[in-house]
């Protein structure tokens, strides 16, 4: 069918976009209501969030099911495949920029706002009139600012769990690549093994991170309230953890799809998209390990 490329494919009407818009609205409306509730007032926010979240899960399930069905029916030609690939690449680029905002905030705070609060450069008068006693430092010595917001804390040492997590994610990048090569060679058993390993490694990473968070809260007194150190630490690692969670779920779904035989040597965009996403999550972690934990 060499002519196939010349005939465009326009998908049929679908109810999923409007369902998606509605459930997203329900979720954020519930969240806003919950956050906006008066202290002590119970409100219906949490109920609404739960309904919305279940709706979002159902929407993803339904939308992807219809896409998979159409894909298996052979509806998607080469051009559609390329559109999907471009879509995924630019989506990952947007994610990079989202993390960029938080990394940018971290760099700005460490290079400018904290030193200026300590009297460096043009912050000399701010320092003199507002926070004369503060000597600028990062980490436990001054990362929670002149007012020591959140109280004294200690930092997570990079060479324990974070190093282990780095090794786990790097290994998972290797296993997902082996699975990809196995897919192209058509070795189903090998794909299932290495993709399954990747899922397990992702889950292990999440377990370690949860452990690290609990230790930080209980023993180190490092919390989201620990000044700007705590803010950047938990927001960066937290958003990353959220992405690992999503990535792990996506990998698990792909594992099931491999089991069902949805992919062949040529057509496996779903697999590749998730693999790209996983590599992206991995690279973000390397940035975190370097700039949040080590430096």
């Amino acid at each position: 069918m060499s002519q196939q490329h010349d005939i465009y494919y326009v998908p049929s009407k679908s109810q999923w976009p409007i369902v998606a818009a509605v459930v997203m609205f329900i979720t954020v409306f519930g969240a806003a209501h919950w956050l906006n509730a008066e202290p002590g007032e119970s409100g219906f926010g949490k109920t609404v969030i739960t309904i919305g979240a279940i709706g979002i899960l159902g929407m993803f399930f339904g939308w992807f099911r219809s896409v998979i069905k159409e894909s298996l029916a052979g509806n998607y030609n080469h051009q559609v495949d390329t559109s999907f690939r471009m879509g995924m690449m630019w989506f990952i680029f947007s994610e990079v920029m989202f993390f960029g905002a938080f990394f940018g905030a971290l760099f700005y705070i460490r290079n400018f706002s904290v030193p200026w609060l300590g009297g460096e450069g043009h912050g000399v008068l701010t320092h003199q009139y507002l926070y004369g006693a503060y000597s600028a430092a990062w980490g436990a010595a001054g990362g929670n600012g002149p007012l020591q917001v959140g109280g004294a804390f200690s930092v997570v040492q990079p060479w324990g769990l974070p190093l282990l997590n780095t090794l786990i994610l790097l290994t998972s990048s290797v296993t997902v690549t082996i699975a990809h090569h196995a897919l192209r060679a058509g070795h189903r058993g090998k794909i299932l093994l290495f993709l399954g390993l990747t899922v397990l490694l992702g889950a292990t990473f999440l377990y370690c991170q949860a452990h690290e968070y609990m230790e930080a809260y209980k023993e180190l007194n490092l919390t989201l309230h620990s000044g700007v150190y705590g803010s950047t630490f938990f927001m960066l690692t937290g958003f990353h953890g959220l992405h690992v969670t999503l990535g792990t779920i996506m990998l698990a779904v792909i594992w099931c799809r491999v089991l069902k035989g949805h992919f062949n040597k040529e057509h496996h965009f779903g697999f590749e998209a998730v693999a790209w996403y996983w590599h992206f999550v991995d690279v973000v972690w390397l940035g975190l390990f370097l700039f949040v934990y080590i430096l």
């Binding site: 976009p17 409007i18 609205f25 806003a32 879509g87 600012g145 917001v149 938990f234």
Partner: protein, 537 residues
């Protein structure tokens, strides 16, 4: 296989089904484009009514009509609604309608996601506008939402989440546009033969994907600072309110080009048509857009000269900002050179395009004045800034959208709009918009601050003139509404396929009105049909 592959398409090849199916579950770029345009027109009038409240309060000194807090809600909501609700969706709607027609594609690359991009918007704005009716009131700290002021707003969570939704919508829309342009062009439609409008959207889409996530990050930090006890913008905890301004304007400056680059594209389509000459310096036009887009990432701090940046930063951002005048000057020069010696006629789209070129340039010059650090210390946060950005956004972006509407309306509806009333709309708009905004330059230079409900009696005269212009400009837009509604539902005069004598490009090779499905098989692109077919010769 090939037959199967197009099966879905044949499903709805016939007349569209019921109302709900057609408009809510659509995968058709024309229907979704129409939805975007109707939504944007609605928001234009809602945002415009907020502006009428503002101008009514400022009609004379004293607190006459509204409470100061409500006034601040109006300035904040006017900006948010106009930027995210009126201007941006209008450009996305135009892109949806015209990009597939201009490049010979059957539809957008990802039609269902396209539908989702649109349908998020009404919900996002319902969430945002609902804050006006909440006990604590809506956001009133300005559309830029600077902390610590914005953190005092009770409705912050609603606004932040609605901005998240709009961001998701914009990112998906932009991804769709990039995939469409890069992947769906008809054979023979080389990148450097594309219409300038398509080029401008390709670059705008890149800007959107690059900066909307940054805005999401900035407002997320506001959210966690207010509700979850983080210290990003709290100096006591080591943070810095100025950090918000940096992150926000890293988004904000590309954002203002997101609102003007598609306008440049529209003007570059209209001017050659009515001058009956190919555009002067096609490649220079494309490169200038790319150049402006690049520069937009390294000029953000010119919005912050007055916050106390280090001297080196002030100087860098001043010079980088002034550089933007170079590619912009290239564009203005090329539009003028396109008209030079052309066989010009002055239908409504062309009138709006010429007004755009002149009035946008005035806005550009006042922008250049604001780029100078020493001058900005005087002008910052005065009505001079208000005048500046309304010249680039109203007589720039909004005029270009109106020009595009008149230009393509016959293609969309199959009927000619009423030229007489179109011209009446134009002359009313162009006169009153200057009555409205030109005096604001003087007010700003004399020191009247922006975002205040009351002012020194010394500013009374110019404010009254400005308000009168505002009411009349607002009323003039009802003519626009009338012309569009008349053309869509009541006009008799059939439009030709090639609506305008001098128009070139694929969109004029399909019938008027454009059928529900176009270019189901790739068209044969003949260079002489294209406006820029021979650019590589």
């Amino acid at each position: 296989m090939a037959h199967e592959a197009t099966h879905d398409q044949h499903d709805h090849h016939h007349a569209p089904q019921g109302f709900f199916q057609r408009w809510v579950m659509s995968t058709n770029h024309k229907d979704i484009g129409t939805l975007y345009l109707i939504f944007s027109l609605t928001m234009f009038f809602i945002g415009g009514s907020f502006a009428m409240v503002i101008r009514a309060e400022l009609f004379k000194p004293g607190l006459d009509l509204v409470q100061p807090y409500f006034f601040n809600e109006m300035t904040t909501m006017h900006a948010l609604v106009m930027i995210f609700g009126a201007i941006m969706p209008a450009f996305v709607g135009l892109g949806n309608w015209m990009i597939p027609l201009m490049i010979g594609a059957p539809d957008m690359a990802l039609p269902r996601m396209n539908n989702l991009s649109f349908w998020i918007l009404p919900f996002a704005f319902a969430l945002m506008l609902s804050t006006l009716f909440l006990p604590g009131g809506g956001p009133a700290g300005g559309w830029t939402m600077y902390p610590p002021l914005s953190l005092q707003s009770g409705s912050l969570a609603y606004v932040v989440f609605s901005i998240h939704l709009m961001g998701i919508s914009s990112i998906m829309g932009a991804i769709n546009i990039i995939a469409t342009i890069l992947n769906m062009r008809a054979p023979g439609m080389d990148l450097l033969k594309m219409p300038v409008f398509v080029w401008s959207w390709l670059i705008t889409a890149f800007l959107l994907i690059a900066v909307m996530p940054v805005l999401a990050g900035a407002v997320t930090m506001l959210l966690t600072d207010k509700y979850f006890g983080t210290s990003f913008f709290n100096p006591g905890g080591g943070g810095d309110p100025v950090l918000y301004q940096h992150v926000f304007w890293f988004f904000g400056h590309p954002e203002v080009y997101i609102m003007i680059l598609p306008a440049f594209g529209i003007i570059s389509e209209i001017v050659p048509t009515f001058a009956r000459k190919p555009i002067f310096g096609y490649r220079a036009m494309v490169y200038a857009i790319a150049c402006i887009a690049f520069l937009s990432f390294i000029v953000w701090a010119h919005h912050m000269f007055a916050v106390g940046l280090p001297l080196g930063a002030d100087i860098f951002f001043m010079y980088a900002t002034m550089l933007i005048a170079v590619p912009t000057g290239v564009k203005v020069f090329n539009w003028v050179a396109t008209m030079w010696g052309g066989s010009m006629t002055f239908e409504t789209p062309m009138l709006f395009a010429i007004a755009f070129i002149i009035l946008f340039t005035i806005g550009g010059f006042s922008g250049l004045m604001l780029a100078l650090v020493p001058a900005d210390f005087q002008y910052h946060d005065t009505y001079f800034v208000v005048a500046h950005f309304h010249y680039v956004l109203v007589t720039g972006a909004a005029f270009a959208i109106m020009a595009a509407t008149y230009y393509w309306l016959p293609k969309w509806t199959g009927h000619m709009y009423n030229e007489f009333w179109g011209k009446v709309h134009f002359w009313c708009s162009v006169v009153f918009v200057n009555v409205l905004f030109f005096p604001q330059h003087f007010l700003g230079l004399a020191g009247m601050p922006r975002r205040i409900p009351d002012y020194n009696v010394a500013f009374a005269n110019f404010n009254m003139i400005s308000s009168i212009g505002g009411f009349l400009f607002g009323a003039s837009q009802l003519i626009f509404l009338g012309v569009v509604v008349h053309c869509a539902f009541f006009a008799r005069k059939k439009a030709a396929d090639r609506v305008w004598e001098g128009a070139k490009g694929l969109e004029w090779t399909v019938p008027s009105p454009a059928p529900h499905h176009t270019f189901e098989v790739p068209p044969v692109v003949r260079d002489e049909e294209l406006a820029h077919g021979h650019v590589n010769d």
